[in-house]
Every structure is written in C-alpha cells, then in structure tokens.
Amino acid sequence: MKIRLMISGRNYDVADALPEELALPDGASIDDALQHVAGLLPRDRQLPDSCLLAVSGTHLGTLRNHKPHALRDGDELVVIAPVAGG
C-alpha cells in the first residue's frame, strides 16, 4: 500500500530528504511506517520524541507515546515537531 507522508513543524527542512509518499507492505502499522521513516533520515537527523502524530486527521499521541494504529492505503501520516515562537 501507499501512504502520504507529511513532516512539519520545527526543523521541517528534514522533510527535504524524504519522499512525499511511502510504499509499505499491506497491514503495516504506524510503528512500521515510523521505523521506515527513521531509516530514510540523514544519519545526523532524528525526529524529536515530542512530535505530534496523526493519521488522516486522527490524533494518535506523540512519537514517544502513541496509540497503535493500522494503516490503510491512501492514509496520510502527519508528524509535527512542536513549534513555539512568538
């Protein structure tokens, strides 16, 4: 299956190195997708544990602590590194 990937928020430029779409085996979970993404990141970059995770608009928690979720073809995985800034 294919899912869309959106990485944004703080240090969003990391997304420059990633595809907008991921090909994953049918039945893949959100953790499978995250592991796949981690493997695509440049060696010196990683996503903060406090990143917000959502799949197709549904909030699942943070990178460190999130609900299990089975992905479906066409889903959009959204990873947002928290931003502040005034």
Binding site: N11, H59, I80, A84, G86
Partner: protein, 253 residues
Amino acid sequence: MPDTELSPEELTRYARQIGPGVLSPEGQLRLKNSTALVTRVGGMGGPAALALVMGGVGRVIIAHGGELISPDLNRQVLGCETVLGQPRAPHFAEYLRSMNQYVTVEAIDHEPDDDEARELARRVDVILSCPPGFEERMRLNRAAVEAGVPMIDAAQWGATGTLMVIDPGRTACLRCVYPEDPPFEAMFPVLGGISAAMGALASLEAVKILSGMGRPMFGQLWMIDSYQGRTSIVELQRDPNCPCCGSQGAVQE
C-alpha cells in the same frame, strides 16, 4: 454594566464587517462587551491584537516584557525603528489605541507569572497564547483550564505555524497534546509572513468565539507549512490522564 447598543459612529466604523457571512449587529455588540488577553504581542500576538482592536473587541489586554530590538522588526508589526531600545508594551499599546478610539487597550509590561495569569484568566473571555516558549504557553493553558476560558494557541517556526483552539474541559488542552515541554529555542528562525498569518488566524478564531459567528475550530490543530506548501488539520484527542485537564478534575501540574 454591558453596553446595550453600538453608537452611530461605531456602526460606521464596523460597516464592512457587519452583514451576511460576517458579524450580525448583535455579534458586533458582543465583541464590544468582550475582553481578550493577548500574550505576547510580538510576531503573532501583534497582528492578532491589532485585528481585535480594529475589529472592535471592547477591551484588549496585552502583555509583553522587555525592550524592542532590531531582530524583532522582521515581524513585530506593532513596533517601529523610532522605538528601538524602548519598552515594548507601552509603545505597542499606544499604537493600538491610535487605531480605534472605541476600544480600551490595557498594557502589562511583563510576562504574567502563575498568579497573575490566573487572575487575568478570570477577567477575560478569551486568551490568545503567542509566547516564544512552552513554559509560558503551559502557564496560560493552566490558567485557561482553571478559569474555564477558551484559549487559542498560535505558534510558529521558520515558514510554518500551528493554531490550536481549546475549549477547556471539552476539548484537548495544550498539555494533552504535548505531555512534555519541547526545548526552548531563543533565536528560532521565522519569517514575518507566517507570523502575521498565524496571528491573523488566531484573531479570527477569537472573533468567532466572542461574537458567536461561524464555527470556531475547537479541538483542532491546524498546521500550515508554507515551506512545503502543505496544510493539515488534526482532530485532537483529550488525554483522560492529563495532569492539567484530566479526570482528576483540577489542574494538578
């Protein structure tokens, strides 16, 4: 005592925003009888406060400490070169007052501590949270939850921004979404365009909440990524064990 009508001069001032799809005369009157707290009033809070003042929110309280410095002027629209090195709050308030004689602007020349945030939250109808760090945001979040006052959290980094609209006790609070404070970054990169956009969107949410027009984005997080040209809306989930708004029923943290 709340005002019961708008003067002919006020109706003239707000003529372009009263009508179908915008404010009703009653909604405009509700704005006049409302109080909003905006802290801080830099890149996002400045445009937000300006829109609230120009739009006729009867009392706008702004809080911002420190003096204006040159790097602020890529985004802090309430400042100008002639007040560089001077305290922000009084100058920003003076500018806001010059934009609308029909509203009251209160200036606080520092960032509120826990007690002051709590006291302010009890005085206002909505809080616009626009500070540069999570510690201050969480302080406002606690105060909003305790007082049961809606809060709009606007945040930015580089060319991206997030907007979160919170109805305490009903929708996720900031602590539900970020259980741990992310690290503070003093000189974060930011473009003035995203600051103004996020501040303007925060003010729109406040106007909807205060006036009763439209549908506020309660319980949602709106991510706008101008760098990638992408946007996303997330339906936020409350954390039943949230130390701020969870089932314990009181602010625990």
